[in-house]
């Protein structure tokens, strides 16, 4: 079995491409050189750091509880990211944690309950990471979309409220539209998979020398899990954010535009 061992020399060689990016930025006066260098150094340090901890956490000698602890930390971190990216919505952290935690929980129960993968640290952490990462993106997208939808269609929502409709009636079609927007990228990705690009897990497996058919099986299982968890989080999030944008007496709260970034 040939495996794609990346030697230190190989890693340094791949940095040549970063040098290309820096050169392009300098020649086109994009002013991104420092950002590129910072991103490169930071990602390397982060990955080395995470790799070192992960090696310890998912070591078969260590109790599985360490891996679960890692999963919980990922959920918490994802919740904080969601909160930061949608500052207009009150009390979003608990909702974000609930949505992401629920999706991760449900999918992990399915994966390990049905024996799709064996329950070990080396399966739990990366699988949970993929669910949580994708759910986090879907959550941010759904929350942002709901806020923008209500901001754009405030007149329509208030006209419905003024007719005596409840906030859930007045917001229904806008939430539906936001949810559709939030789910579309994942559905499109699922449709185009294999034709346009090979997803990360499969690429990784093939690079690591696993038989492509086996890689496809793993990838398909992961993809359906991601689709499921993204749909779950986006739905929980859309409905939850929809509720939080109204007061209990059916008024749409103020949604000031965040200050323009220069």
């Amino acid at each position: 079995m040939t495996t794609a061992d990346v030697t230190t020399v190989g890693l340094i060689a791949s940095l040549l491409l970063v040098a290309v990016a820096i050169t392009l930025s300098a020649s086109q006066r994009l002013g991104l050189e420092r950002d590129i260098i910072w991103a490169t150094v930071r990602s390397l340090v982060q990955l080395l750091f995470v790799g070192a901890i992960l090696a310890f956490v998912i070591d078969p000698e260590q109790p599985l509880i360490l891996s679960w602890g890692w999963v919980i930390a990922m959920v918490a971190f994802a919740g904080v990211v969601v909160r930061r990216r949608t500052p207009e919505i009150p009390a979003l952290l608990p909702l974000g944690l609930l949505a992401i935690g629920a999706a991760a929980g449900v999918t992990l129960v399915v994966v390990f309950g049905l024996g799709v993968f064996p329950l070990e640290g080396r399966t739990l952490v990366p699988l949970a990471g993929m669910m949580i990462g994708n759910s986090m993106n879907a959550t941010v997208l759904a929350a942002r979309r709901v806020v923008d939808e209500f901001r754009e269609h405030r007149a329509e929502v208030e006209a419905r409220l003024a007719l005596g409709q409840s906030s859930s009636q007045a917001s229904r079609r806008h939430l539906r539209s936001a949810l559709r927007t939030a789910l579309t990228p994942q559905i499109e990705t699922t449709k185009a998979v294999g034709l346009v690009f090979l997803p990360g897990a499969m690429t990784g497996l093939i690079l690591a020398g696993v038989d492509p058919i086996e890689a496809v099986r793993v990838q398909a299982a992961i993809m359906y899990l991601i689709l499921g968890s993204v749909a779950t989080t986006a739905t929980v999030m859309t409905l939850g954010v929809g509720k939080r944008l109204f007061t209990t007496d059916h008024r749409l709260i103020d949604l000031p535009r965040p200050a323009e970034r220069s």
Binding site: E156, E158, A159, L161, A162, L163, G164, D249
Partner: protein
């Protein structure tokens, strides 16, 4: 009295007072026109009447009952509102009217359209195809679906041409003649002079004048005089 305001205070986002109304009684009939320069708090006053906004202090009453004692959805069905820009929902005029009552039938819809001077054939028209004036009349008809006891109209003609404006004014006057009290917000004193039976003038969030249109026009109170001086003659 249709609406009463007691020591009502509204504050803006930064804690400044947007509106402060110590004592205001609005008559239960006729056309009460709320005038004043932009930013004076006219729309806020109107939106307090159907609880699209709530005061930070004070009490608003509808027919003597505090708004907080009335279910908000019930209140909004009893107090119709027409907005500055006509809000068209997707679908036909009939679909639009049914947003206010899903059980509304075509015959009832036709009667409502006639009340605002639209031909019953409009029920099948797509709302997006209507002119601004027609759409605003559809909005009035939609507000009438719930059989309200009062109507709030927030600069309902500001986006319309003079002829459509007159049509809406006349439709509104016909409604008041039939017993429907209307609160009408405008910054245009010429419009006030055409339609008002009672006038409230707001300046900087306070009631600067209450009485007849002629009385307001004759006022020499400095804030009012400055506002009147800005009006096109």
């Amino acid at each position: 009295m249709v609406f009463e305001f007691d020591n009502v205070v509204m504050s803006g986002a930064n804690g400044t007072k947007r509106l402060s109304v110590a004592n205001l009684r609005l008559p239960a009939g006729g056309m009460t026109v709320i005038v004043g320069p932009s930013g004076a708090g006219k729309s806020t006053l109107l939106r307090l009447c159907n609880r699209l906004e709530v005061p930070v202090e004070g009490i608003v009453r509808f027919h003597g009952r505090s708004l907080t004692d009335i279910g908000v959805l019930q209140l909004r069905r009893a107090v119709g509102m027409v907005f500055q820009e006509p809000v068209r929902f997707a679908g036909t005029v009939f679909d639009n009217l049914r947003e206010a009552d899903p059980d509304l039938d075509v015959a009832a819809a036709a009667i409502l359209l006639q009340r605002v001077g639209l031909d019953p054939s409009f029920v099948d028209r797509t709302a997006d195809e209507l002119s601004g004036g027609e759409a605003q009349r559809m909005c009035i008809a939609r507000a009438l679906v719930t059989d309200p006891e009062a109507l709030l109209m927030d600069e309902p003609t500001s986006s319309l041409d003079p002829s459509a404006t007159r049509t809406i004014e006349n439709q509104a006057l016909a409604l008041t003649a039939a017993g429907m009290p209307i609160l009408w917000v405008t910054h245009d004193t010429a419009q006030m002079n055409r339609i008002a039976s009672h006038v409230v003038c707001l300046i900087n969030g306070r009631v600067a004048y209450e009485g007849t249109a002629a009385g307001l026009m004759a006022s020499d109170e400095p804030g009012i005089a400055a506002y009147l001086a800005e009006q096109p003659s």
